[in-house]
């Protein structure tokens, strides 16, 4: 009888060792190979975020982040549908990437130093520049965030918005009172029901909330932007092969817009172009694809199936959508138009 605990112990040690060795093996293989073997991409998104990832009653996902994921699938497999969307809560996003449950995280997450350095992620590029703002009722007469002295502000708890609000409050000595909420729609409803004087969130989120009001003209977004929110996509840390694929897929979206290639005219351009830059980009010349390990026509597939950055923006955030965000004059315009979107050279 004395022997049982000993053998149990040995079994436990062996089990642990096996698990450990598996974790080791996992780290050695690039996500790129895993994805190719699996045959589809696992993309980590959130539950819902208007304009960035929403599912309709047919079960089709759409939004900015969805298109980022689809473009990577189009680059790797030549088929934008070969992607599975896993919606997870904020708290779970980092572990999903670390555990390998997701290959790519794109859920409107702000690129911050602490997330980049201590959560096992590598942020790669920013696809949307946002900033935190305030929304008030127009009849309140408030014209600037500095007028919000002593006001009550509705905010989502656990977000960077809450922290930024505290900072802004302290640095300007505004003595604002915060009312925290866990659910975005409840927060918005509370604001509309006059439970707080102002509401704070990323400006895109404010625009979405404003559009749901009974009469949107009753509400105004204040001009101040109190934070930098660079919404970026990320992959598992220290996996350059995979990071390159994702990074350059996004670069292709921007590059295509710079070159004036859209999903509509790409076939014609491919046939008629004499521009070596375009030829290289579309894989008609050169061997840019080899370093990435992608098919020769990967950029063509991405633009043909998903469209360039401008098309993606228009489709999800542009004037015809619920958010109705103007692009010109903001940071999200191309660098030629004074924005921050700048594709590195395809050479």
């Amino acid at each position: 009888m004395k022997k049982t605990p000993k053998s149990l112990l040995i079994a436990a040690v062996a089990g642990c060792a096996m698990l450990f060795s598996q974790v080791q093996a996992q780290a050695a293989e690039s996500t790129f190979e895993t994805v190719q073997k699996r045959g589809y991409l696992n993309c980590i998104i959130g539950n819902s975020f208007v304009g960035f990832y929403t599912v309709d009653d047919k079960g089709t996902w759409s939004g900015m982040d969805i298109d980022i994921c689809r473009s990577v699938a189009a680059a790797v497999f030549g088929d934008k549908e070969k992607v599975k969307f896993n919606s997870v809560q904020w708290a779970q996003s980092f572990t999903s990437i670390k555990s390998g449950a997701g290959d790519l995280l794109s859920k409107g997450m702000t690129w911050t130093l602490s997330r980049d350095s201590s959560q096992g992620l590598d942020f790669l590029d920013t696809y949307f520049y946002d900033g935190q703002g305030f929304m008030v009722r127009t009849d309140s007469g408030i014209k600037s965030a500095l007028d919000l002295k002593g006001a009550t502000v509705c905010v989502l708890t656990g977000t960077s918005s809450e922290l930024n609000l505290t900072d802004f409050n302290r640095s300007n000595n505004l003595k604002m009172k915060t009312v925290v909420f866990d659910d975005a729609s409840v927060r918005t409803a509370a604001f509309f029901n006059k439970n707080c004087d102002a509401m704070t969130n990323d400006r895109s989120g404010l625009a979405a909330a404003r559009s749901t009001a009974l009469n949107p003209a009753d509400y105004a977004v204040l001009p101040e932007t109190i934070s930098k929110e660079a919404l970026s996509f990320a992959v598992r840390q220290n996996d350059s092969t995979w990071a390159n694929v994702v990074k350059w897929t996004f670069a292709a979206l921007v590059e295509a817009e710079e070159l004036g290639i859209t999903s509509q005219n790409i076939d014609e351009i491919r046939k008629t172009t004499i521009d070596p830059v375009v030829k290289r980009f579309l894989g008609l010349e050169g061997d840019l694809h080899k370093g990435l390990g992608l098919p020769q026509d990967w950029a063509y597939q991405v633009i043909k199936q998903v469209g360039n950055y401008g098309e993606v923006y228009e489709r999800n955030l542009g004037p015809d959508t619920a958010l109705a965000l103007d692009r010109e004059g903001t940071l999200n315009a191309l660098w030629k138009n004074g924005g921050l979107l700048y594709s590195k050279s395809f050479r």
Binding site: L19, Q22, V23, A25, Q26, E29, T34, K37, R38, N47, S48, F49, V50, T54, V55, D56, D57, G59, K84, N86, S87, V88, Q89, A91, Q92, T95, S96, S99, G100, A101, S185, V186, T188, A189, A208, A209, S211, T212, A213, L214, T321, A322
Partner: protein
């Protein structure tokens, strides 16, 4: 009177009796109102005040839900322009299908319906009086039905073992129903026809052998008939809505009881390893919130498996929920076990029954009967707890309902879907509690 009349011999003058008091209606609704609500001035005043308060409370609610509600519109904006103070039920209708089936393809939803219909059929005979061996076929249902349901829900290329088990489930149900019909027609049960033949092999188990033979035969027939029917694959990620909620709560409710009983018996056991294993399982699982157990199973489990192995999210959730429900059930069962007096154990011992026989035939039947209200309460709370899986991104009915508020056309519509699904939840929970009360009454009459 008669004597008096005879004595006097003469007719007495007719004296009318005093008038009866006016009729007070003590029956029917009017009588009830008078008796209970307007008995005296004080009661009348109270009634009027309370009704007035009720009216004040209900009026805005009814106005919002019914009188000012919008029933048909194509967007929320349109709803708001028609009636800004009313509910916008129009937004629910396009989503009803999703609320019920999740993202299950429309054309294949008959499979879900069929599986649930078969499931219902399986449990209908439990309510019939003449049916015997209810426990046996309930057990068979619990063991076989999941295979059949899974086969129908999932479709695609399943292993042949799975296919055969699914067919055998169907065959078993068929024999069950044929037998029920035969019993009601006072005919011989199926296996009784074969009994004389089977007695050649085994006198004692002739009926069982007969039944198994018919069952086996039917399985083969069914397997042959459906062998070319290929079902299109529908991945688990497309399951959702009420369908998913019912799967999760159904599986966990069915699993909770056996896990609970085993853990409870383990906890009361005198063998130290079993005892401490049970205690630690129960206490660890019970001391953490369900959401933590869910997170653990979803984020930690993949760490223990190789990268390429896809772990089904639903299975992870089911494991977590079953474990959680089992741990709670264990304590409920233990409470029931402790309510059984020492005398019952001693009596069983003096009859020479061993541990398992004592438990199965003496203690558990009594204990379970006492525990019905508690068990059903935990089932109901479990049913509601399953909405937590929306947090880890399974599109159950809760997440589907919340999703309506971010649909492009229905942006901001978040109250109405929640009201709608709370009605649905009420229906389910209330019928569960009604059923438990009927069960209690039925079982108590035997005492």
């Amino acid at each position: 009177m008669d004597n008096q009349q005879k004595k006097h011999g003469a007719l007495l003058k007719f004296v009318p009796r005093p008038d009866r008091p006016p009729i007070t209606i003590t029956y029917g609704p009017v009588g009830w109102l008078k008796k209970n609500l307007f008995g005296n001035l004080w009661n009348s005043l109270l009634t009027i005040t309370v009704f007035f308060l009720l009216f004040l409370l209900l009026k805005p609610f009814l106005e919002w839900t019914l009188f000012k509600a919008v029933w048909s519109a194509s967007t929320r904006r349109e709803c708001l322009s028609i009636s800004p103070d009313g509910a916008c039920w129009a937004g629910i209708f396009p989503w009803v299908n999703n609320l019920l089936y999740g993202l299950y393809p429309d054309a294949l939803q008959w499979r879900v319906n069929l599986a649930f219909a078969i499931g219902l059929l399986w449990f209908v005979p439990l309510a019939l009086k003449k049916v015997q061996q209810k426990i046996l076929f309930a057990l068979m249902g619990v063991m076989l039905f999941p295979f059949l349901a899974n086969y129908l829900f999932l479709g695609g290329d399943r292993s042949s073992v799975h296919y055969i088990v699914a067919c055998s489930a169907l065959a078993y149900l068929l024999t069950l129903y044929i037998n029920i019909i035969l019993t009601y027609l006072n005919g011989k049960r199926l296996e009784q026809h074969l009994e004389t033949f089977m007695e050649r092999f085994s006198k004692k188990r002739a009926a069982l052998l007969g039944h198994s033979t018919i069952w086996f035969f039917l399985t083969v027939v069914i397997a042959y008939v459906f062998k070319d029917q290929a079902l299109e694959h529908v991945g688990v990620d497309a399951w959702g809505g009420l369908f998913l909620t019912l799967i999760i709560s159904g599986v966990s409710i069915v699993m909770a009881l056996p896990i609970g009983i085993i853990l409870a018996l383990g906890r009361r056991s005198e063998m130290p390893i079993i005892k401490w294993f049970s205690i630690s399982t129960i206490e660890v699982v019970r001391s953490v919130p369900m959401i933590t157990v869910l997170f653990m199973s979803v984020t930690m489990l993949p760490l223990f498996f190789p990268n390429t192995m896809e772990l089904n999210k639903l299975v992870q959730v089911l494991v977590a929920v079953c474990l959680f429900a089992g741990a709670y059930m264990a304590e409920t069962v233990r409470g029931g076990l402790q309510a059984i007096s020492r005398g019952q154990y001693d009596a069983a011992k003096s009859l020479g029954l061993g541990y398992w026989r004592t438990m199965i035939f003496i203690i558990l039947p009594q204990a379970l009967r006492i525990m019905i209200p508690n068990i059903v309460t935990s089932f109901i709370s479990l049913f509601k707890d399953t909405t937590l899986v929306s947090i880890i991104g399974l599109f159950d009915i809760m997440l589907m309902a919340r999703n309506i508020s971010i649909d492009k056309n229905w942006l901001g519509l978040h109250t109405e879907p929640l009201v709608a699904i709370s009605v649905l939840f009420f229906v389910f929970c209330y019928s569960m509690s009604e059923y438990s009360q009927r069960l209690e009454k039925k079982l108590n009459t035997n005492r």
